[in-house]
């Protein structure tokens, strides 16, 4: 989990939110309240924020927010479980190293 300020993101030219979208797990509104909302958020052509969520097989739902109603988003940092890596590398060490 990584909190990201919307204002800071919009100021960055290469921010994902301005291009392909930023995967999020929730956001904080202008009153500091947290709203769980999994999906991909990006800025629309009219400047509003669009949250796209998968709601079924091959179906997405888009919710639009005024720019000032979302202040901070919680982004999903890609994480991998250490256990499969640990298992594979340990097996490799046990069997392959003479």
């Amino acid at each position: 989990m990584r909190p990201v300020s919307i204002d800071a993101e919009l100021a960055r030219r290469d921010a994902p939110i301005l291009h392909r979208g930023q995967p999020i797990s929730g956001y904080f509104d202008g009153h500091g309240r947290y709203h769980p909302a999994r999906g991909t958020i990006r800025r629309g052509k009219d400047g509003a924020l669009e949250l796209r969520r998968q709601v079924g097989f091959m179906r997405t739902e888009t919710t639009r927010f005024p720019l000032d109603s979302v202040r901070t988003v919680i982004t999903d940092r890609k994480r991998t479980s250490p256990y499969p890596t640990l298992a594979l590398m340990s097996l490799g060490l046990v069997f392959l190293i003479p």
């Binding site: 300020s5 500091g32 590398m89 340990s90 046990v94």
Partner: protein, 135 residues
Amino acid sequence: MSHARMLTMCALAVLLVSGCSRIAMVPLHDVFANTGHALQGAEGQQITGFITSDGEYHRFRGRVKLEGDSLVFRGRSSENEFREPTHRLGVDDVTTLFSKDFDSGRTMLGSFGVLGVLALLGGLALLVAGLGTGL
């Protein structure tokens, strides 16, 4: 098992475990509902940042402690955006804290457990292979 292999496995375990800590979100109303929370203790709570009542995120690596109706943030000036070692805010001005997740200790124990089981299985496999070849 050779010393080199054992050392490599230990180094691998430390490397994997060192990247397991993660950030946890702590809503302040949950903290106040729990009277024994670290925020109310002498040392305070270790944090990486917080959300103010306007929804803005503020980076702050350090500790925060509840003092009366205020939250007192203490840390290095270089590791927070206020550029000061101490920052004081009203309790109503902050809604959420971000702290290092305490599950990293559990992850460490789990990793060493998995490593131990795998080493045991590997040792048994080598033993069986040795018996099969008559060594």
